[in-house]
Symmetry: C2
Subunit: 233 residues, 2 copies
DNA sequence: GGGAACAAAAAGTCAGACTTATATGTCACA
DNA sequence: TGTGACATATAAGTCTGACTTTTTGTTCCC
């Protein structure tokens, strides 16, 4: 939602980035800074700044006498929030969504286990509040409201784990959950079982039951994976 | 090892990046492009490119009339390989190492489980070869050789999982393992139990035993965590 | 055919002038 | 005293043109 068109170079990135991640320029393709600058009607300096950013994402490599070559997908920094957003907006969105959901299924249970040990009283309260919000919006096609509480819930868990690497995945989870609600088909209300699991998870964290928190989260993420299999087989 | 001093802006990043991640400039600190350009004896355009890269790592934010402000640590893109390297080279290295090891303990078991299902015959062979290499170098203070095989082993597992997000963590694991061997105290030969676990893991993957591969990896990463507790309590 | 010299091409660097957004201070007015 | 509009200074943002450096590919000679 954050319009990242900060400056001209940002605007260039907004069209060039998605184009590259979408595979419009196959690996090994060579771009030239001057040509790009002309195409986007910006000065060379602006174009150079954009290329530097793409380079720091490992999307391209700039070499003298050669030009700006597109790197193979396997080298891209797929953890860059910007890259994630670009790819989720593109064609291989389903594939990307699956990768991220599998990532969630690995991270979140461990994060929840840690959260049960380290969560502050305030975080426990937040968690319970989010769970209540999910219950309140779980029926009657209030998907948008449900999403807000769901995202907030998982953010708190990840943050409460006390691990900065986990905490930083809050945005990723938000993108995944938001994508599931918006782009993919989701006519019905959320699965009642999932809602219950969230309530129980808040409970487990509050009680400091690390083992149970981990197990409940495994069930939640397993459900998310299963749901993905049903929607996009 | 990769000297990333590619160009002048790369050289600037090599000193400015570590300085920021080390906390030399507390969050909210304001830098000015012109001043920095003078300090590093480069032109403004070069300095601007460096700032753009720092900005794409969420380390700083550039705003008109204000300057380049350092963002709070919680917003940094801690998955950026460059940022990881800078932080591992800095003062809060132990803390960083622990975060990454916890991350490993979440990711690798799941990755190993997937690898058992998706690994190709060639990958299985590589895995066995690495495990044999670890056995061969596990005694007689051949830590350097052991490290090479250890890193290769985990890289194959992560790649064989078939999940691009997992595969991309190969570099991170390499940094962690390498750091453990080089910087931290490590007089003795590696734990024989760990070596055995790796051999068994290669076996489990080869046999397609997903459950066992996952469990064995949990033991491996648990050992790594425990080791960290002993070395840096 | 192989190696050395050469030429061309594209990124890299620099300096200077100009534009634009915006934080902040000023002042009049309520 | 507080509040709004307005002016101003500041630092980033942009553009241009000239120059440098590295690297690739070709050519020419042995």
């Amino acid at each position: 939602m954050t319009t990242r068109g900060r400056g001209l170079h940002g605007h260039v990135l907004e069209t060039l980035g998605p184009a590259i991640t979408a595979g419009d320029y196959p690996p090994g393709s060579v771009l030239r800074t001057d040509e790009l600058a002309q195409r986007f009607e910006v000065s060379r300096s602006v174009m150079r700044e954009a290329v530097r950013v793409l380079e720091s994402m490992y999307l391209v490599e700039s070499r003298r006498r050669v030009g700006v070559t597109v790197r193979p997908k396997s080298e891209w920094n797929v953890y860059d929030p910007q890259v994630i957003r670009w790819r989720l907006a593109g064609a291989d969105r389903p594939h990307q969504l699956r990768s991220l959901t599998v990532l969630r299924s690995a991270i979140e249970p461990v994060a929840a286990g840690l959260a049960a040990r380290h969560a502050t009283a305030e975080q426990c309260a937040e968690l319970t509040e989010c769970a209540l919000g999910m219950v309140a919006t779980s029926r009657g096609h209030q998907l948008e409201g449900y999403l807000v509480h769901d995202v907030a819930f998982h953010r708190v868990i990840l943050k409460a784990s006390g691990n900065e690497m986990f905490a930083r995945l809050g945005d990723v989870v938000a993108e995944v959950l938001s994508g599931r609600t918006h782009h993919d088909v989701m006519f019905e209300d959320p699965d009642p079982a999932a809602v219950t699991l969230h309530v129980q998870l808040a409970e487990a964290v509050r009680e400091g039951d690390s083992r149970r928190a981990e197990e409940l989260t495994r069930e939640i993420t397993a459900g998310a994976l299963q749901e993905l299999d049903v929607l996009a087989p």
